[in-house]
């Protein structure tokens, strides 16, 4: 299956109630697949093509506010349009899953894969102090896995979860193992598990209001403190990463998504030359695996970050490392995927020989 299709199928099987999207390359297969699958007949899931990305993310807001499992997907320019809605969703503490199949920018950029939306994804692309859990798949299997994991984390924290993929992972085909169909929430489950949801005010409870507004500054500050406490909890409990050949590593590559797969090949090539290189692959970009990178900085002589961007994640790696060892960036932009030999060369010139 294609990565985009695996994500769509996994979303149905995760018990999604609604998908709201707008076509954009290279992620249109998500909605195409969903429409062709008729999830309304399979599970009762609603799929709607909205008039814009702006409308789609606000449909997600409306659905999430009812305690439903809802999602949207887009690619970079469309994700920029969704930022207003994402900020409101974060402010109103609503659970949802958003997929960004990143393409090169800025502007209309290109339809080829890129990783240049890291800042937007991890530092809060919309207004206000908020964070999303950001999951970075590096395979079609993870595209599928993160649809379900995304929903579970979103509901655990009442927070939007972003799956930050890229055009390569979205378009490429791999074998994938899919979970069994999980039932959608029943009305009773929604009332029990998400008592804050707008399900219609019955006589036995006060009315439920979903809003991000509080004109009382003291209360708004308290709300912000509560959000920050939640984000701290996410940092403590949800940081995910993969370590490859790090045990004896003298040098380290930090890379996620497509770049991590290329870097894994580069690690093999470098090790074949007798250079002990390891790969640290962040799976959550927020929360960022700061602690393990800091620990590895005591072990290695230099770190190369590989990103399909001008170097965005490198700022978080440098924050984790401080000035203990050299941290350099290698990347390609504009939709170009670096080759493993380019990564090998960058490691040799920028880190080992640099």
């Amino acid at each position: 299956m294609k990565g985009n299709e695996a994500f769509a199928e996994a979303a149905i099987r995760a018990g999604a109630d609604g998908y709201f999207g707008y076509p954009i390359t290279p992620q249109s297969e998500v909605m195409e697949y969903l429409m062709a699958e008729k999830p309304h007949e399979r599970t009762g899931m609603v799929v709607l093509q909205a008039e814009s990305e702006v409308a789609a993310i606000n449909m997600v807001y409306g659905g999430a506010a009812c305690g439903k499992r809802v999602l949207t997907s887009s690619s970079s320019p469309g994700i920029s349009l969704k930022q207003e809605g994402i900020s409101y969703i974060a402010g109103a503490e609503l659970p949802c899953v958003i997929l960004n199949v990143v393409r090169g920018g800025p502007g209309l950029g290109t339809i080829q894969p890129s990783q240049s939306d890291y800042f937007q994804s991890t530092k809060g692309g919309g207004h206000g102090d908020y964070r999303m859990i950001v999951l970075a798949p590096s395979s079609v299997q993870e595209m599928a896995d993160f649809a379900r994991l995304g929903f579970d984390l979103a509901f655990k924290y009442r927070n939007p979860v972003l799956v930050l993929s890229d055009g390569a992972i979205g378009q490429m085909m791999e074998k994938v193992e899919l979970d069994e169909q999980r039932p959608r929430f029943t009305e009773e489950e929604i009332i029990k598990n998400t008592p804050w949801a707008t399900t219609g005010k019955t006589k036995d409870r006060e009315r439920n209001i979903i809003t991000s507004l509080d004109l009382d500054s003291a209360k708004q500050e308290l709300h912000n403190h509560a959000l920050q406490a939640k984000y701290k909890l996410m940092q403590e409990q949800e940081t995910r990463f993969e370590m490859i050949s790090c045990e004896d590593a003298d040098y380290l590559i930090v890379a996620y998504g497509t770049s991590a797969r290329i870097s894994q090949k580069a690690v093999d090539l470098l090790r074949a030359e007798g250079i002990k290189v390891g790969l640290l692959r962040p799976i959550t970009l927020y929360p960022f695996p700061t602690e393990i990178i800091s620990k590895l900085a005591d072990q290695v002589k230099g770190i190369l970050t590989v990103e399909m961007s001008a170097g965005q994640m490198i700022e978080d790696v440098r924050l984790a490392v401080g000035c203990r060892v050299k941290v350099e960036h290698f990347g390609r932009m504009g939709g170009i995927i670096p080759s493993p030999t380019e990564v090998v060369e960058a490691m040799q010139t920028k880190i080992i020989g640099g």
Binding site: D17, G18, F20, V46, L48, A50, E51, S52, V54, A55, A56, N58, M59, V60, Y61, G62, G63, A65, C66, K68, V70, E84, G85, Y88, A92, T198, T199, G200, K201, T202, K203, R207, N208, I209, I210, T211, S212, L213
Partner: protein, 257 residues
């Protein structure tokens, strides 16, 4: 003749009017003389009379009525500016057995939310849209709205709206009446008891349409903004009758029964 006490007056048989329980006791944040309070009341009265309050979800806009959820004693969501019809679309599609309405001003619905409004109407979402049109941005302090009349003064058209420079007012209600998805489109007002009754009837019809899964009902209420218009409430209502009604004539625009 015996003296009438307060207790006598309060006897149930003497009760001729009672505030609906679907309005909270919180004091309205609207300016004295504003039409929002009346519009809130009749929407809530309709829900109560139809006994659908426990399965109704309202969507509040950005604007003067951003805090509508403080006054309406039902489950509500507060939308980003102009996006209420998008929220309502999802809420209704995911909960077809619930009643869903948006309550929006003219800046929200006819400027920043034009796309969401037109497409929700065109798709024929089975929802009710209540559109309060006072020809001005009240909340932000009286700026020109998409509905501001030609020549009308506002803080961003201080010499009057020059249509050659600032464009024409948008008759959103006539516009959505052209779309196949709307089933009932009407324009009403709430400045006299007779108009309040008519408006309430229209809102009732809109929710009855939703009950029958007929499609989208769109109820515009032409209202005043004495603060934004820099008039007292009486003057504002007179000005509304003399200037707003000729441009935004009252009555049903589309009724598909």
């Amino acid at each position: 003749m015996a003296e009438i006490t307060k207790e006598d007056i309060r006897k149930p048989e003497n009760l001729i009017y009672k505030k609906t329980e679907l309005l909270t006791d919180k004091a309205l944040s609207y300016c004295p003389g504003c039409g929002h309070g009346t519009a809130h009341r009749i929407v809530m009265e309709v829900l109560e009379e139809m006994d659908i309050q426990d399965k109704t979800i309202g969507i509040a806009p950005v604007g003067c009525s951003v805090l509508a959820y403080e006054f309406m004693n039902i489950d509500m969501q507060q939308a980003a500016h102009g996006r209420a019809p998008a929220l309502a679309t999802a809420v209704k599609r995911l909960n077809p057995d619930k009643f869903v309405f948006t309550y929006q001003g003219d800046g929200d619905l006819a400027a920043i939310g034009t796309a969401e409004t037109i497409h929700a109407c065109n798709r024929g979402e089975n929802i009710v849209i209540i559109f309060i049109n006072n020809g001005i941005y009240g909340m932000t302090g009286g700026q020109m709205a998409p509905t501001t009349l030609p020549g009308m003064k506002s803080s961003t058209s201080p010499y009057g709206r020059d249509v050659h420079m600032m464009g024409n007012p948008l008759k959103m209600t006539e516009l959505v009446a052209q779309l196949p998805g709307t089933i009932y489109v009407t324009r009403q007002a709430v400045h006299t008891p007779a108009n309040v009754r008519k408006t309430k009837k229209a809102i009732r019809k809109a929710f009855e349409n939703q009950k029958l899964n007929k499609g989208l009902s769109f109820v515009e209420i032409v209202s005043n903004c004495n603060s934004g218009w820099k008039m007292n409430p009486v003057q504002a209502n007179e000005w509304m009758v003399e200037n707003m009604f000729p441009f935004y004539p009252l009555g049903d625009i589309k009724v598909n029964d």
